[in-house]
Amino acid sequence: MILDFSVIWDSLPLYFSGVLVTVKLLLISLALGLLAAVPLALMRVSRQPWVNFPAWLYTYVIRGTPMLVQLFLIYYGLAQFESVRESALWPYLSNATFCACLAFAINTSAYTAEILAGSLRATPPGEIEAAKAMGMSRAKLYRRILLPSALRRALPQYSNEVIMMLHTTSLASVVTLVDITGAAKTVNSQFFLPFEAYITAGVFYLILTYILVRLFKLAERRWLAYLAPRKH
């Protein structure tokens, strides 16, 4: 027999714990990333250059450099500075999970901010004019009209970003974390069956991708029903 999957069968618990680590990394970085993305997107749509420019620079630099470099800068790079090693944050910054979540959150915040900014710019002018005619303040305009509608309309593009992030979390295995890819690495180093180990990891990612796609379809049906093509 060319392929040997019996060992993989016995290692399934390791893969399942890897799934938990992957999902945890994904959820934490997405939550933090989205939280940072909203103010960044608001800055990106501002017409004041000194508000817009810093946010533009941030998203440009983050989107123009590889995720692996960002992760290495934080995980390996920061230790170069004595002030970092002696700071109160060092216990966190020397922790692989913390660094991975931080790097992933920074990365996704830049991409999400651009998606949200695009969605904000696409708001129909009539909605904004109507809100102003109702005498809404700027804050109320953003809270009640712009953001709820822009967040909904960003959903299809955001689902792509979430799937990209799922795939990005596989880099956590490079900084010693045992996510799905890390589990495959462990199995490979124990039994030297690289093909079987990594193809199994691939199947797990495919399943997770499929689940995410379905969940976003459901979310779109719930929150974007008013934009769906009309049924006859």
């Binding site: 290495f72 800068l73 795939h167 596989s170 490079v174 890819t181 069956l193 690289p194 093909f195 990612y205």
Partner: protein, 229 residues
């Protein structure tokens, strides 16, 4: 500032650029093939193209790279003896990198090209046929030139993602700028400096690409009417 490692990192940057360009060439070829398959009226060919695009886009690049580099090598060495080949086969990381990245981004590009072909009005191809052009000539003279304009934004995106994904090939032992920065950082205990330098080089690469492809898009859109909003 770089303790004399500057030139070795620049050598690595050249390797990164070669890797990206060769992978993109392969990806473009596979992307066109994938799009042709998916648009084919022959059902099993279309299904084959769909499976290629869906499966590859559902798995992280890193896993596919590890699968091809370690798994592919392993399978090759398990299968080769069956054909009477007894020597150990060693895949070079550069070759594995080009093959894997080309194969992965071919799937993403097949989606871009498929959308671009579908956006060309049907009448264009029909007019070509009416002039007595063969299907191959219609494809090359009518569809491809128009498809390029529509595919440039998606192509630009994929090229940028691919350029950044080349950093992953350093993880299977290619001495690209990422791997060299890692060793230089370990040797001098200044990893931040070297990773920052590499980040800057990647930023230069992506910025130049962005400008070049934007110029190309303008060239290919000459004579296209844009409605005033």
């Amino acid at each position: 500032m770089l303790h004399g490692y500057g030139s070795t990192i620049l050598d690595g940057a050249w390797l990164t650029l070669q890797l990206a360009l060769l992978s993109m060439a392969l990806a473009t070829a596979l992307g066109l093939l994938g799009a042709a398959l998916r648009l084919s009226p022959v059902r099993w060919l279309a299904v084959l193209g769909d499976i290629y695009a869906t499966v590859i886009r559902g798995i992280p690049e890193l896993v596919l790279i590890l699968l091809v580099f370690y798994g592919g090598q392993d399978i090759l060495n398990r299968v080769a003896p069956l054909f009477g080949y007894e020597d150990y086969i060693d895949i070079h990381p550069f070759a594995a990198g080009v093959l894997t990245l080309g194969f992965i981004y071919g799937a993403y590009l097949s989606e871009t090209f498929r959308g671009a072909f579908m956006a060309i009005p049907r009448g264009q191809a029909e007019a070509g046929m009416a002039y007595g052009m063969s299907p191959a000539r219609v494809f090359l003279r009518i569809l491809v030139p128009q498809m390029i304009r529509l595919a440039i934004p998606g192509f630009t995106n994929n090229w940028l993602v691919l350029t950044k994904a080349t950093a992953l090939i350093s993880l299977v032992g290619l001495q690209d700028m990422m791997a060299r920065a890692k060793s230089a950082g370990d040797a001098t205990r200044e990893p931040f400096t070297f990773f920052l330098a590499v980040a800057a080089l990647y930023l230069v690469l992506t910025s130049v690409s962005l400008l070049a492809l934007r110029y190309l898009e303008k060239r290919y859109s000459a004579g296209i009417k844009v409605a005033e909003l």
